[in-house]
């Protein structure tokens, strides 16, 4: 199967690129492991124009529907490899091969883990990386949230609707990466207690998580621990293609072009300064436009 454009990644950047590509009448395919990407895990999104407040899964569902209404196919799959053959690309999933004239990498990021012993053992038995998915399991319980970014604070706020006590455990001496609005909400919330200058160093329990030990000497008895310590760009495919990285993000120019001709990138996987849904959407639009301009002006 041959396409004008194959977009890898189905988060806001990839889906917006698909909307623009469809309207440019490019024969387009989207392949993504998680439709909606990391944005689908967001509990409340309050800074996306047109919605005062919307949950991530709802916003990304609207994006997906818009793509599908435009006739673009979205395949829910992992991409094993991309190879450049002359001026074309061969994209392989575990079952199918696709040829593409242009590629947009919108592969996003993966959640960072604590890297502690027992972390995998307690996955689904107290350890969680998705508050939106698992918060409701902790009704009237005590939980910890590790991290100090927007995602950590919003996880704590969501958990406060279910749990009795929430400890935010953060390695710095104050919140300075999160939006002031979220910090204000956390500080006002009587169920949330913030523990600064602390790191989790041990996860303790028999069959499930029961306690966490901190490097300040404290021990916290918790039923759950939500890990929100940032994410790592998914650059494996980019590296295999020989794409230049900058601080482990794909380096792009103003037109979202990478150093490999015919390959564009958009969203959180790129070296842009602000990792936000609206920025990812804008980058997706630019990437699709750039691909279209190249296809339009190239000799057939």
């Amino acid at each position: 199967m041959e396409y004008d454009l194959v977009i890898i990644g189905a988060g806001p950047a990839g889906l917006t690129a698909a909307i623009y590509a469809a309207r440019y009448k490019l024969n387009t395919l989207v392949i993504g492991e998680q439709i909606g990407g990391m944005a689908a895990e967001a509990d409340e999104i309050c800074n996306f124009p047109s919605h005062k407040k919307i949950i991530g899964i709802e916003l990304t569902k609207k994006m997906r529907e818009q793509v599908e209404n435009l006739g673009v196919e979205i395949i829910n799959s992992y991409v094993d490899s991309i190879k450049k053959i002359d001026s074309q690309f061969l994209v392989k999933t575990n079952s199918t091969e696709y040829e593409a004239k242009k590629i947009i990498l919108a592969t996003g990021t993966e959640k960072r883990k604590l890297g502690l012993k027992n972390e995998d053992k307690f996955l689904g038995k107290g350890i969680s990386y998705c508050a939106t998915c698992d918060a409701a399991f902790f009704k009237n319980k005590v939980v910890g949230v590790v991290g100090g970014s927007n995602s950590a604070l919003t996880a704590a706020l969501l958990l406060s609707k279910f749990a009795n006590e929430i400890y935010i455990i953060y390695r710095k001496n104050k919140f300075f990466r999160a939006e002031p609005k979220w910090i204000e909400e956390v500080e006002k919330n009587e169920k949330i207690k913030s523990i600064f200058n602390a790191n989790v160093i041990e996860l303790v329990g028999e069959n499930k998580l029961e306690c966490v030990k901190l490097d300040n000497g404290e021990k916290l008895n918790v039923d759950g621990l939500f890990v929100e310590i940032g994410s790592i760009p998914s650059v494996k495919l980019a590296e295999e293609l020989g794409i230049e990285l900058e601080e482990n993000h794909i380096k792009v120019d103003k037109k979202q072009r990478t150093n490999i001709e015919g390959v564009f990138a958009a969203g959180d996987v790129t070296n842009g300064p602000l990792k936000q849904i609206i920025v990812a959407c804008a980058q997706g639009a630019i990437a699709a436009n750039s691909a279209y301009e190249e296809l339009r002006t190239e000799p057939q």
Partner: protein, 102 residues
């Protein structure tokens, strides 16, 4: 053997997990496998989550004929790992010896 997949409507990983299980499970119906989707918001979901100590979605639970847990998968399983675990649970997995010598 029965597979239960626990899902909730606010879990972005659940549709993918459901898709994998719905694709693979029917391949083993003739070997005595059955499959049921459990929505967390239902009273059945709450009751089963409490009974089997489910604390995350999606979770795929493998039960024997007496409803005892054999194993579980947290998160979205890959097709290969799900097949492998089903075959092990159903006793279809051949030993290295029988694979080598028939």
């Amino acid at each position: 053997m029965e597979l239960l997949i626990f899902v909730s409507s606010n879990c972005p990983h659940c549709p993918n997990a459901e898709k994998v299980v719905e694709k693979i499970a029917p391949e083993y119906y003739n070997y005595g496998l059955s499959f049921k989707k459990i929505r967390m918001k239902t009273s059945e979901g709450k009751e089963l989550a409490s009974k089997y100590n489910i604390m995350a979605v999606p979770t795929v639970l493998f039960l024997d004929d007496k409803n005892n847990e054999i194993q579980r998968i947290i998160g979205t399983p890959s097709e290969d790992s799900l097949r492998s675990k089903i075959e092990k649970g159903l006793g279809l997995k051949k030993s290295l010896f029988s694979r080598l010598f028939g």
